[in-house]
Amino acid sequence: DAMVIQNPRYQVTQFGKPVTLSCSQTLNHNVMYWYQQKSSQAPKLLFHYYDKDFNNEADTPDNFQSRRPNTSFCFLDIRSPGLGDAAMYLCATSSPEASGRRETQYFGPGTRLLVL
């Protein structure tokens, strides 16, 4: 019944070693989002895909990239993780056109990234 799936749930990487987090969805939603959430803070939107169109937030560091090979999958690539990138990374999906502005985002369980 899982609708937004994130793997792995926990990821440990080394300082500067590239890491990829994955998200998949069974909802067939056309928009997929990546958020960064640090402890006791609000989720911060990094970027999103509207269909195949990539939309980066203005303050997202270049170190963060994303790929969406098809509707169901979306990846977050961190090219050179720093200690400050340790956080929970949340994937979410939505379908603005289908909902007619009655829009809800559905979140995955998140991947907790630890940078050593």
Binding site: V31, Y33, S40, Q41, A42, P43, L45, H48, L90, A92, S94, P96, R101, R102, E103, T104, Q105, Y106, F107, G108, P109, G110
Partner: protein, 113 residues
């Protein structure tokens, strides 16, 4: 800057006490409003949402929220909390003509048995 403000960072209360969490936003025009909850170790879940119509919205687990347009507020309430309501609560706003969410900083609610 346009934003979402949650008044309380941490609320501690006893079981059966009433809960009210404040949320104010600064966007003009028609907005969509949400409350999400994050239980310890779990993912963000939708608690309730407001799009239009009756400004008093009922959600899951006995929660409700009231949209007061004149005050740009969307406060969350529960008449009698349980220990299992211990969680972090996030207010979120979808600004006019947008589909992205803007989150408040969150309120940690601790319910003591």
């Amino acid at each position: 800057a346009q934003s979402v403000s949650q008044h309380n960072h941490h609320v501690i209360l006893s079981e059966a006490a009433s809960l009210e969490l404040g949320c104010n936003y600064s966007y003009g025009g028609t907005v969509n409003l949400f409350w999400y909850v994050q239980y310890p170790g779990q993912h963000l879940q939708l608690l309730l949402k407001y799009f239009s119509g009756d400004p008093l919205v009922k959600g899951i687990k006995g929660f409700e929220a009231e949209f007061i347009k004149s005050k740009f507020s969307f406060n969350l309430r529960k008449p009698s909390v349980q220990w299992s309501d211990t969680a972090e609560y996030f207010c979120a706003v979808m600004p006019p003509n947008d589909y992205k969410l803007s989150f408040g900083a969150g309120t940690t609610v601790t319910v003591r048995a």
